[in-house]
Amino acid sequence: MDAFRVLPGVGPKTAQRMAMHLLERERPGGQRLAAVIQQAIEEVGYCQRCRTLTEADICMLCESLRRDDALLCVVESPADQLAIEEAGGFKGRYFVLHGHLSPLDGIGPESIGLDLLEARVAEGLVEEVVLATNPTIEGEATAHYIASQLAEYGVKLSRLAYGVPMGGELEYVDGGTLSRAFNGRLPFASE
């Protein structure tokens, strides 16, 4: 039961329920689960090009011939990458940092693979780097650092825009987002 508690959102009660369920009703399922976890932990590593999670040396997105090598999107986590993929529309490649710069936690540029990112840009294929780190203080600091780091390579740098959520109501949008959305307003063209 204790073993289940490594999972997020699982307390002692839930862990007990899970263990009982597997032992009393779902033994084959439990066996499959154990095997899959075992296999995943052993085989899933980081992609050598973009650092995302993958079973292969190079992930599918990096291997794909249909993606645009000139566009590189820098994200903090594989989950962010998935979110952008699911949203669709982005056809470039990714680079996953697995974190952000956080001086107070002792996390510096070397811990989030920024040397690898620099080497990637130095190859010369990339024309635009999209800094899609989170809109938090640390994400912002990371974007700033990367921008300064890549300045000498003459690539175009862009940052995700701040905006009002779709279907949202201005009344309930927090002040910081609203003021940034205001500063970044776009010309309105009606057809």
């Binding site: 107070l104 203080i137 927090d174």
Partner: protein, 231 residues
């Protein structure tokens, strides 16, 4: 307790959905508290609990670790970017490293507030940082004495080095000249030519309190400066 003005200095995950926060408060100095639910994805309080956002907070508990009971924003988050943002992180890092928990430091709070207002403007940054560092030194009762270790007045013609043990300046071959140090003592810090000397004095005075661990935010800034000046 009445809501107290505060700023978040640092936050790290605690248990599953809570956060352990270091706050700089108006009347109680640095306070460490648990913000329940402060780490839950998408939670309002997580969004609000960002550094550089002016907050109102209340807490419970008499031990070192408090429990946050209320947290409201009381104004605009400073719009920091680039270099200004790194300076802000530096300010947070030295406060977290230097201020003992609950040592009253209202001046530090005041100069921190002023610093956040100054950081977006590059020309005002350095001076605001120095005043903030000085306030920290005052709170620690560690401000430099502008005399020699024996207590005599500094000679404008000589050069001096800061001596951590006596918090005074002992004559040295290379170092800051006595005239500059006397200007600094008089508090006329706006003078353009003093910027580098002020920085050196603050760094020397802060160093013994920081110990041997490097300041990561300063390292980041140095790293970027080195890149910029690389041929």
């Amino acid at each position: 307790m009445a809501p107290e003005p505060a700023f978040l200095l640092h936050r790290r995950p605690y248990r599953e959905t809570s956060a352990l926060v270091d706050l700089l408060t108006l009347d109680h100095g640095r306070v460490r508290a648990v913000a329940h639910g402060g780490q839950r994805p998408g939670s309002k309080s997580r969004q609000r609990l960002q550094p550089f956002t002016p907050l109102f907070v209340t807490w419970q508990g008499s031990r070192d670790l408090k429990r946050l009971t209320l947290m409201e924003s009381r104004g605009q988050t400073a719009l920091l970017a680039g270099e200004g943002l790194l300076c802000g992180l530096y300010a947070n890092e030295i406060a977290t490293r230097l201020l003992p928990l609950e040592l009253p430091a209202s001046d530090v709070f005041a100069f921190y507030t002023a610093l956040l207002e100054a950081l977006p403007a590059p020309a005002e940054r350095a001076l605001a940082l120095r005043r903030y560092e000085w306030a920290l030194l005052e709170a620690l009762e560690a401000t430099p004495q502008f005399t020699t270790p024996e207590g005599s007045v500094l000679d404008p013609q000589l050069r001096y080095r800061f001596d951590a043990a006596t918090r005074a300046f002992s004559p040295a071959e290379r170092g800051l000249d006595g005239r500059t140090l006397r200007y600094i003592e008089q508090g006329d810090w706006q003078h353009e030519g003093l910027a580098n000397a002020l920085k050196a004095v603050m760094r020397a005075a802060l160093a013994p309190h920081l110990g041997s661990t490097v300041l990561r935010s300063r390292e980041l800034m140095l790293d970027l400066a080195r890149r910029r000046h690389r041929p």
